[in-house]
């Protein structure tokens, strides 16, 4: 048919890979934003900002919220949301702290276990209890916080002598902070899972069109369930990194992590409506916010100025990468 012959090549040339290209655009513009931040920073803080030391520092700082944001990406891809990550992180680190006497391994298991457990409760309420994610995770937002305070009796537990856990705070692998290494590893794994496995495809499908996914034979419930468990697992990992860096397990950490994580995911091009997800975007989003925070502190501006500036920078950043809806 002439249409085809005429058309195919023309379109082929003019736009290869429409979908990747589009969400790609997102990612590229974010790269632009990051570069811009680096340049601006280098100008404003010539000797402190653009040093390999500080860059590694930023990477380390990004790691905690970063790992959480990666998990959040899966949740949001299914058009869900997880408000409980911050308090879950506190609960998980406290849970680890309770086992601190039995050594690093138990700490790690405790933190991961608590993360998965609480994530599983979210998952159950949402996938089987049919509670809207916002409300279910809001309930967990307050429950997990209470749980952490209760388990810890409101006292931080020092884990100073858990060498292995603390290694995540001060250790290095080939000069790269170990926390950052974990973050990068989680990111890479998540990328493969989301972009190169049927599971990842199903996750996005469920977010894009639940009914269509179901008719195509996707086990919607199981997928929805799984993403909140993944989120919980990532929170557990983040809790380990955080405790390692703090050398203590405290019930009062993790405030506003949910906002930071969701913001990173959204600015990274994953649609809150679901159906589109970008791990690379999330990674860059996390870095963007970490750079903004780092730069503002380096400049030692007054709080109020800092907050206003932060807001303006965020706006500028997204205006640079103007998004339809």
């Amino acid at each position: 048919m002439s249409t085809v012959q005429g058309a195919a090549p023309r379109r082929g040339r003019s736009l290869p890979f429409k979908l990747p290209a589009r969400s790609g655009l997102q990612e590229y513009t974010l790269v632009g934003v990051v570069l811009l931040l680096l340049i601006v920073g280098a100008i404003l803080e010539p000797d402190a900002f653009l040093t390999s030391d500080n860059m590694l520092n930023v990477l380390r700082q990004a790691s905690v919220v970063g790992v959480i944001a990666i998990g959040m990406t899966f949740v949001i891809a299914t058009s869900g949301i997880d408000l409980s990550v911050g308090s879950m992180a506190a609960a998980a680190s406290v849970a680890g702290g309770q086992l601190a006497d039995s050594g690093s391994l138990m700490f790690v298991l405790g933190a991961l276990g608590m993360g998965v457990l609480l994530g599983g409760i979210n998952a159950g309420a949402i996938a089987y209890g049919k509670v809207v994610p916002f409300i279910a995770t809001l309930a967990m937002f307050t429950m997990a916080r209470g749980l952490g305070l209760w388990m810890s009796d409101k006292q931080p537990v020092s884990i100073f002598d858990l060498e292995f856990v603390r290694w995540f705070g001060n250790g290095e692998v080939l000069g790269i902070p170990s926390a950052a290494v974990v973050f990068l590893a989680v990111t890479a794994l998540a990328w493969v899972l989301l972009n190169r496995t049927p599971y990842g495809r199903y996750v996005v499908a469920v977010g894009g069109n639940r009914e269509a996914a179901r008719i195509a034979g996707v086990n919607v419930r199981r997928i929805v369930f799984s993403v909140y468990v993944i989120s919980g697992l990532c929170v557990g990992i983040a809790a380990i990194l955080l405790s390692g860096r703090l050398a203590s397990a405290s019930p009062i950490v993790g405030n506003l992590y949910e906002l930071d994580a969701i913001a990173a995911v959204v600015i990274g091009g994953t649609a809150l409506a679901g159906g589109r997800a970008s791990i690379v975007g999330t990674f860059l989003g996390v870095i963007t916010f970490a750079l903004i925070f780092n730069l503002l502190t380096l400049m030692d501006l007054a709080t109020e100025i800092q907050q206003v500036t932060k807001g303006l920078i965020i706006l500028a950043a997204v205006l640079i990468q103007r998004r339809e809806r």
């Binding site: 048919m1 058309a7 589009r22 049927p198 495809r201 009914e211 269509a212 008719i215 195509a216 034979g217």
Partner: protein, 518 residues
């Protein structure tokens, strides 16, 4: 009539999309009081053309004149103000709104104080639905709960709610059965008499003769013929549309490999035993043999879609069993159904078939992903793309570039993507709900061919369609459904439209319908 200034005249209309020339300089006139049929293959640019007129899309260049005066482009409200009312191909309703709200959205009657005059809205809604013989659609139901067909009626009512000078209809009959189409035509004729100009887009050529005055043919964004008389013989029109003769629309009729049209003889590929779900489907039993194409006809709302949903396990049956090659299916479990070799192309491609923002490739492979993730469960993206492209080409999808976004495809081509998914996944039994809805003649022939080949290869195919000729031309056997039960079985080669229609409508209804159609 042709001397009067036309109600609508389109001059050198061009619309470029990133990577696609939808319109490439189209000229097009519509006179007052005429029904101007617009034909063209899938992706020809019909919808784009009328969207440019209705203001839904901004043309790249060119002019749209209504009553000789140029229309501000890209502003729907302006077009509406000029009395240009449009029924879009893809349902354009807000599912959450109630029927009367949807109909008056954007031009609500108001009481003083600017409050909605809901009484008037409801009253006029009833009148409109009355006019369309659908008084039965509850005016305060939410649109989202209505079936596609009922929704289509609502968008028609919505178009009529404006005082319309030019009525544009983009494949309104696609979701409707002959009954409803005839009712619609009745309304159109009345409007015509009132001097309203009508643009009528359809892929059902028989409708041209029934309602049309003049015909224009669009292909690949250009007008290849305009102002032809309505009695132009179909095969001429087809040739102009698809640029070639379609010698044979229907392939040789498939026959159950078990021998003879009698499916029961062979070990059935698909067998229903008293499958039921009140109120849509009464206990239903039938068997389909491998190599058989079973058609299910009936009026809109007869329960055909629901029946397929039950077989496939999308809804929970009240009673009954489904067996595939002797193996009983887990009820209400689509995954089990798929595993045992069932496949289904749903009726409503947008809400149930496609992920509109995904590439064609991803949409096609969704149901069969594990195949592309052999070692270590890692997907081979290229493998996916090639396999998908193959199927798309087989269905002559335009474009068949597997990386394009489905949303950017024309309606008919989107339909082909849904089919491609199930062709890709080799299944034993294929359930097709309105498989050729919105598909052009050329492509129809392709699809029929594909179906026949699948049957030859030993698949059992169940086709639900509201197009009687399709059923008659394609199927080995035809079951007719009415109010949720099978009321007749006719051998494909003996069936006639009249007979099927007689079974489809309740006996008491027969007379008036025949009058209408005669």
């Amino acid at each position: 009539m042709s001397t009067a200034t036309p109600i609508l005249s389109v001059r050198g209309l061009v619309k470029h999309y990133p990577g696609a020339k939808a319109l490439d300089g189209v000229d097009f006139d519509v006179q007052a009081g005429e029904v101007h049929c617009l034909l063209g293959p899938n992706g020809a640019g019909k919808s784009t053309l009328i969207k440019c007129v209705s203001g839904a899309v901004e043309p790249t260049s060119g002019q749209v004149l209504v009553d000789g005066e140029p229309l501000p482009t890209g502003t729907p409200s302006a077009s509406l103000a000029h009395g240009v009312a449009t029924i879009y191909q893809e349902l354009d309703l807000v599912e959450d709104l109630r029927v009367y709200d949807s109909i008056f959205l954007g031009h609500e009657p108001r009481k003083l104080g600017g409050l909605l005059d809901r009484a008037q809205m409801k009253r006029r809604t009833r009148e409109l639905l009355e006019r369309l013989d659908h008084a039965n659609i509850p005016v305060d139901a939410r649109v989202g709960q209505l079936r596609p067909a009922a929704q289509q009626v609502v968008s028609i009512a919505r178009a009529l709610s404006h005082d319309v000078r030019l009525l544009i209809m983009d494949e309104p009959s696609a979701i409707l059965d002959d009954n409803e189409v005839e009712t619609l035509f009745g309304v159109v004729r009345r409007l015509k008499a009132d001097g309203v100009g009508v643009v009528y887009i359809s892929h059902r050529l028989d409708e041209v003769a029934r309602i049309g005055d003049r015909v224009s043919v669009l292909s690949d964004g250009r007008t290849v013929a305009t102002g032809l008389p309505a009695d132009t013989p179909p095969d001429v029109l087809v040739e102009k549309m698809v640029g070639r003769k379609v010698e044979q629309l229907f392939p040789d009729r498939a026959t159950a490999s078990g021998g003879g049209a009698d499916g029961a003889a062979a070990a059935p590929a698909l067998e229903l035993r008293g499958l039921a779900r009140a109120p849509e489907v009464k206990p239903t039993s039938f068997a389909v043999a491998p190599g058989e194409v079973l058609g299910i006809g009936g009026l809109v709302g007869a329960g055909r879609t629901e029946l397929l949903r039950l077989i496939y396990g999308l809804d929970k049956p009240d009673a009954g069993e489904v067996h595939v090659h002797g193996q009983r299916l887990k009820p209400a479990n689509p995954r089990a159904a798929i595993r045992t070799g069932l496949g289904m192309a749903p009726e409503d491609r947008k809400s149930q078939g496609l992920l509109l923002d995904w590439s064609l490739a991803r949409n096609v492979t969704l149901a069969d992903l594990p195949r592309f993730a052999p070692r270590g469960g890692v997907l081979s993206i290229n493998g996916e793309r090639q396999a998908a492209a193959e199927q798309l080409r087989a269905l002559k999808t335009v474009p068949d570039d597997a990386d394009r976004i489905v949303r950017e495809l024309s309606g008919g081509n989107q339909q082909k993507v849904v089919l491609a998914r199930w062709l890709l996944r080799e299944c034993k039994v294929l359930l097709l709900d309105e498989p050729t809805r919105g598909v052009d003649v050329g492509a129809k022939a392709e699809i029929y061919g594909v179906i026949a080949n699948l049957a030859k290869a030993g698949l059992a195919v169940v086709v639900v369609s509201s197009e009687m000729p399709e059923l008659i031309g394609l199927c080995t056997r035809i079951l007719v459904m009415r109010e949720g039960e099978i009321v007749a079985e006719v051998a494909g080669d003996e069936a006639t439209e009249l007979e099927l229609l007689r079974h489809a409508v309740a006996p008491t209804d027969t007379a008036p319908v025949l009058e209408e159609t005669a």
